[in-house]
């Protein structure tokens, strides 16, 4: 299942963002800002990662009357997968720069 995940440069960028703080939950819009990916690109990646159990999702508990936000973080399998594919030679970082990602 994990093997058929298409590892596009954008997917690697998302995985890389999660690896910056592996155990902390992230908001979709923050990931979008960090990676420079638009919602139409980012969310299909998040959906695929979640379907393959590489990403866990949660609804943030918020005050009454305020709608909750969706949170994301890598599962332990996801972390292992991300470390295998992203932190290899730093090649992906070059790809990210080439794509105009915000983070260095």
């Amino acid at each position: 299942m994990k093997r058929d995940l298409r590892l596009s440069p954008q997917t690697l960028m998302v995985l890389d963002t999660f690896l910056d703080a592996p155990r902390s939950w992230k908001y979709g819009y923050d990931i979008s800002r960090n990676t420079g990916l638009r919602s139409g690109t980012l969310y299909p990646i998040l959906m695929r990662l979640a379907e393959r159990k590489l990403l866990e999702t949660s609804w943030e508990s918020s005050e009454p009357g305020v709608p909750p936000r969706h949170l994301y973080r890598l599962t332990s399998d996801g972390m292992k997968f991300a470390r295998e594919h992203v932190v290899r030679t730093g090649k992906e970082r070059i790809v990210r720069v080439a794509l105009g990602g915000v983070k260095s």
Binding site: G28, Y29, R38, S39, G40, T41, L42, Y43, P44, R69
Partner: protein, 177 residues
């Protein structure tokens, strides 16, 4: 204009999310909530359009797969039903043919001595051929033709029986003279 754009973005995404089924709706709500945190109005509009596209990409293949699954299940069921109907028709045709043959034989052996005791039809070869082969075969062919349009399977069952009877008769004649 700015607030109008944001309103439009929000309404657009809300409309898409409302019409999205199940799991995709959960993701849609997540995107809709993030819309409140997008800084500029134009960015909010782009966010909404991108989110709508992402929702469609997620939900449409699932909807199509569910529809195809439903259709193939229905087709399978229909095929089974159709096969069962045909088998029943075929079986009925064979049973009717056997009954007709038995009735003809019974007529020769039990009814004819009672009706025409002096003729001894049961001992006459032409009468035997007539009641065992020609009368049943004629009935089979007529019934098969009559039923061909309305009850094709039953008609086929009767024809199969007719062919079997004829084949049996020919083998019997060729081996017993």
């Amino acid at each position: 204009l700015s607030s109008q754009l944001r309103k439009l973005a929000s309404k657009l995404l809300q409309a898409v999310v409302r019409r999205t089924p199940g799991d995709s709706q959960c993701w849609g709500n997540a995107m809709l909530r993030e819309l409140d945190f997008v800084e500029t109005d134009w960015a909010a509009l782009w966010w909404a359009l991108g989110s709508a596209a992402a929702i469609f990409r997620h939900s449409i293949p699932r909807e199509v797969a569910a529809w195809v699954g439903k259709q193939s299940g229905w087709l399978k069921q229909e095929t089974l039903r159709s096969m069962a109907r045909k088998a029943t028709g075929l079986g009925t045709g064979v049973v009717i043919s056997i009954s007709v043959s038995m009735a003809c034989i019974f007529g020769l052996t039990h009814v004819s001595p009672f009706l025409f005791p002096e003729l001894h039809l049961a001992q006459m070869r032409w009468a035997q051929y007539m009641s065992v082969l020609w009368i049943p075969e004629t009935i089979f062919v007529m019934a098969a033709v009559a039923l061909w349009r309305r009850r094709r399977a039953m008609s086929v069952g009767i024809l199969v029986s007719a062919i079997t009877l004829m084949t049996h008769f020919m083998i019997y004649v060729s081996t017993h003279g």
